[in-house]
């Protein structure tokens, strides 16, 4: 390290690791130079998760399930196949997508207490809170308290099911279709469906402004 020192210190600078961003850059450079992971591969993966893969994909699946009863049946029976048919890519062999349906009697919520398993192919990168210790530790033991923190109150007579994604299964919640959306088409319905509703910590809300009368 060639920089000047004018401060007191009693530690050996060789013990201080370089900043994380520089260490990541170093690994990237070495892997690229050896032809193990090319710059192109890195760019392609980053671009996919920044621009192509995100909750809009899951929302499209949910909206179709709301308007197409046959698709809904297939989605609940075999989520992997139905999602593939819908055009969802990247569901590798062995990864099973299981779609769990919210009803007036059952509310579903998804977690991975051991790490952060998440349906990346339909929702993109998980939000920070999903990967955090507070969520992972509490939602299995106090799901109603966690849901309340997200502003989601669940009646006492509704059963809360917590799905802990500990195997190679990935869960997606099929939220209840909000009232007053009969006139909306598939694209307009999809626009209502947020990521948090597909994880199960929130509900899908009706549109803020009712659509104009036809």
């Amino acid at each position: 390290m060639g920089h000047d020192h004018d401060h007191d210190h009693d530690h050996d600078h060789s013990d201080v690791p370089p900043p994380l961003a520089l260490r990541v850059k170093a690994l990237q450079s070495v892997l690229a130079a050896k032809g193990i992971v090319s710059e192109t591969t890195v760019d392609r993966i980053v671009d996919a998760y920044e621009h192509r893969i995100g909750p809009h994909l899951g929302a499209g699946v949910i909206a179709r399930a709301w308007i197409d009863p046959a698709f809904r049946e297939r989605l609940l029976a075999d989520g992997t196949e139905a999602a593939r048919d819908h055009g969802i890519r990247g569901l590798d062999p062995g990864v099973r997508l299981v779609v769990v349906e919210n009803t007036p009697d059952v509310h579903n919520v998804v977690v991975c207490t051991l790490c952060s398993c998440y349906p990346l192919q339909l929702l993109g990168m998980p939000p920070v809170w999903y990967k955090s210790a507070p969520y992972r530790s509490r939602v299995v033991q106090d799901p109603r308290g966690v849901l309340a923190e997200f502003g989601t109150d669940v009646d006492d007579d509704v059963e809360v099911r917590v799905w802990d994604s500990n195997s190679e299964v990935r869960y997606l919640v099929l939220p209840e279709r909000p009232a007053g959306t009969d006139e909306l088409d598939e694209a307009a319905l999809a626009a209502l469906v947020g990521r948090n509703a597909m994880v199960g910590v929130e509900r899908v809300l009706p549109p803020a402004d009712p659509p104009p009368a036809p």
Binding site: P18, L20, A21, R23, V24, K25, A26, L27, S29, V30, L31, A33, K34, I36, V37, T41, V42, D43, I45, V46, Y49, E50, P93, G94, R96, T113, L114, C115, S116, M125, P127, V128, W129, S132, A133, P134, R136, S137, R138, V140, Q141, D142, R144, V146, E149, F150, D156, E159, V160, R161, V162, W163, D164, N166, S167, E168, V169, G194, R195, N196
Partner: protein
Amino acid sequence: MNRIHDLGGMHGFGPIHAEPERSEPPFHEPWEATACALMLGTLRLGRWSLDRFRHTIERQAPLDYLRRSYFEKWFEAVCELAVAEGLVTEDELRTGVADTPVRPRDERWTPGFSTDRAPRWAAGDRVRAVVRNPAGHTRQPRYVRGRVGTVVRVAGAEPLPEAAAEDRCEVGHVYLVRFEAAELWGADATGRDAVYLELWDDHLEAA
């Protein structure tokens, strides 16, 4: 292992700080995106299994595990595995300059998803999650040990995580099991709630 990653049911981590959904980016820093891509890019080489990667994270010191951000944990694990597999050296990680060849490896980690063995359990069976304290990796969370649940269905067949973490593929059936909240949490459970888990043959015994 009874490690800090096994968080289900623990107290004391405080409230959940959720960013507004519509404005949270997939990555908060450019290095996070790169670290993510390097994890996915190296995983597909077949030099290590996903469970070996998970196990590498789980073995991080508890204080590091809690202090490090998510992608930092990923990055440290990728570095450790890349060095262990002879893809890079510690010197190269410091300098960013490649000056050693990659250690060749013939066999590739390939997960299997079928087994000839018949499932041990069927829908409706009452099963107990075995009580154990394995020294290595497992995907049986601590909170379910010794608890009784009901098999919902045979969910599929997957590599046993305990073996997969050592890059050995031993496929076993996985069962979706429903545990009543009161069975897991006693009087602190609310409502008629339940937790669903998928467990392997080795994780279950007759109740």
